[in-house]
């Protein structure tokens, strides 16, 4: 968010606070639906329909191929992990743990990755992803990228390489596994894309694998929450506490400075004092700076989406906070100002009751359940 955007959002937030005549945050809950938008709170519109992809039209064959690629332990470097190891479909496509130990962990169970596994819910809509935005080009590339990282370690990286990346080696290894070691994948790619992957380059096979996994992850959508029903006019869809929280969220607490729009994220990077520098100035994780090299990006991380966030504990880039209430308390308290580069100066102190209301609002963002048959692993693998 640029300074201009922040100023604009701040003004909008103040304006909304004024509109509901709520100087102390205990707002009247009788917020009218704006006829122009059909919503009570225009900052938080409903999640749109799934995007159309003319260059990769979703099909059932691609979805099932993507599901297999997401779930096939044989495609990992050690043959002992799958994407779902950290992104459990039945757990909002994250693991519930603070830090995950990926493929390189077996048989020993350390080291872990140094960042918390984010949920993949609504990733299909996201214009930016990963805590620091690294290596993000588009969804297919991002879906297949972990094969080249220590996560899936198809590059057979040296564990001591830390967060290293070797895409070319992983591309060669993935093609070999899909064509030579597990040739049953060849007809699946043929059915999905009309391509014989034995004749394609490793880069081309890599891209098709990513496209299939991108189609699969279209199942990971959080939408049609109780909040959306209330926001569209259903007075009884959420509790009074959640209503108060929604008004705080868009008003006094100014959460929509960053958590705005249908996906509740501006998809920008912010310093919210979650990786505070020590006496020497070094941070445990420099965040976005590692990608851009710009000092102003030190300690910045991507604004996470909040839909179904009540299902994705723990929180923050390092999984260090177990509850939403503690995250909000961090933002509104002195800890949130601990980093000299923090961007939380405009966030007011909040009472425990206000924090509770905000938690109830965020709980009301839980999406409609994803059909169990979509979340299940493939019944057979090639």
């Amino acid at each position: 968010m640029t300074p201009t955007q922040i100023a604009t959002a701040l003004l909008l937030g103040l304006g909304l606070t004024a509109c509901v005549d709520d100087p102390d945050g205990t707002a009247t809950l009788d917020v009218p639906v704006d006829p122009a938008t059909g919503l009570r709170l225009a900052d938080l519109p409903p999640v749109p329909p799934l995007p159309e992809w003319p260059d990769n039209p979703p099909t059932e064959a691609k979805k099932e191929l993507g599901r297999a690629l997401f779930s096939d332990v044989r495609l990992s470097g050690s043959g002992q992990t799958v994407c779902g190891n950290c992104h459990l479909p039945t757990s909002a496509f994250q693991s519930g743990g603070p830090l995950d130990a990926p493929d390189r962990s077996f048989p020993a169970i350390t080291p872990t990755l140094h960042r918390h596994t984010p949920s993949m819910l609504n990733l299909v809509y996201a214009p930016m992803a990963r805590w620091d935005g690294s290596h993000f080009t588009d969804l297919p590339d991002m879906m297949v990228l972990p094969f080249a990282e220590p996560n899936m370690n198809l590059s057979m990286l040296d564990v001591s390489a830390g967060e290293a990346l070797d895409v070319p080696a992983a591309q060669v290894n993935l093609q070999r596994r899909l064509t030579v070691e597990i040739p049953g994948y060849v007809p699946l790619f043929e059915a999905a894309f009309g391509e014989d992957i034995t004749t394609l380059s490793p880069e081309q096979v890599w891209r098709l694998a990513g496209q299939a996994m991108a189609v699969y992850i279209r199942i990971a959508v959080s939408r049609d929450a109780a909040f959306d029903a209330w926001n569209a006019g259903d007075d009884d869809a959420i509790s009074d506490a959640a209503k108060r929280g929604a008004l705080l969220f868009t008003g006094k607490a100014r959460c929509t400075l960053c958590h705005s729009g249908p996906l509740t994220s501006d998809f920008e990077f912010h310093n919210v004092s979650t990786s505070v520098p020590d006496a020497s100035g070094a941070r445990p994780d420099e965040g976005r700076f590692l990608v851009t090299g710009r000092d102003e990006d030190r300690g910045k991380f991507l604004t996470p989406m909040l839909r179904s966030a009540a299902r994705t504990s723990p929180y923050l880039h390092d999984g260090s906070e177990a509850s939403i209430a503690r995250v909000i308390a961090h933002f509104s308290g002195p800890d949130g100002r601990a980093d000299p580069l923090n961007e939380l100066a405009m966030i007011p102190a909040l009472t425990d009751d206000e924090i509770d209301d905000l938690v109830q609002f965020i709980k009301s963002l839980d999406g409609a359940p994803i059909p169990l048959e979509d979340l299940a692993p493939p019944t057979t693998l090639p």
């Binding site: 039945t90 743990g97 603070p98 995950d100 048989p107 169970i109 504990s313 723990p314």
Partner: protein, 192 residues
């Protein structure tokens, strides 16, 4: 240092006119003397019993479909894994008819603080090497009830007290999908 060598617990509601929930968790060693566990990705990892005995465990009961980290427990208790490797927990008789989600986490790797033991802070999420209950199927979720939260066992209270057994199930042949799926029922997983 972990000092809670005896069980300590609390229940939000001291009304004892309801039913109890009992979880009988058994960790069984294999022929090699090791404790084998499934991981979420259907691989098998092991702990030596000495890695688990004496470690803290947490048992909690929550409203069905609770939000982990964000909903308070209706009942919770800490203990230490005994040499028998059998962990039996019975709640207070306070549970009215309805669905509940019950969880056991053995913190074999993650350190636990005194504040967490004293319920001043919520227990940490299970991390690599820790053990947790798991149930793959939704067969225990009755029509109209909330989905079962991850890492929990659904307990449906009707007219009587409810008891469930969980153990570290592993398939004899991990390439046999049916065996593996069956091992994910009422099991204790290792967190990778």
């Amino acid at each position: 240092m972990f000092l809670a060598t005896t069980l300590v617990g609390c229940a939000a509601d001291e009304d004892d006119t309801g039913h109890t929930l009992t979880m009988d968790a058994r960790l069984t060693t294999g022929d090699d003397g090791l404790l084998a566990f499934l991981s979420p990705s259907a691989t098998i990892a092991t702990h030596a019993p000495a890695d688990v005995i004496g470690k803290p465990y947490y048992v909690g009961v929550f409203p069905a479909g609770f939000s982990s980290g964000n909903d308070p427990a209706l009942f919770q208790v800490w203990g230490t894994v005994p040499e028998s490797l059998a962990i039996t927990t019975t709640t207070t008789p306070t549970f009215a008819p309805g669905p509940y989600d019950m969880v056991l986490v053995v913190y074999a790797s993650t350190p636990i603080t005194e504040a967490q033991l004293a319920f001043e802070e919520i227990p940490p999420a299970a991390a690599g090497g820790d053990l947790a209950t798991f149930n793959l199927s939704s067969a225990d979720v009755l029509p109209g009830d909330p989905d079962q939260a991850l890492g929990t066992i659904r307990m449906n209270v009707a007219d009587d007290d409810v008891a469930v057994e969980v153990e570290n199930r592993t398939p004899a042949d991990i390439s046999d999908r049916d065996q593996t799926v069956a091992s994910f029922e009422h099991t204790i997983l290792i967190i990778p």
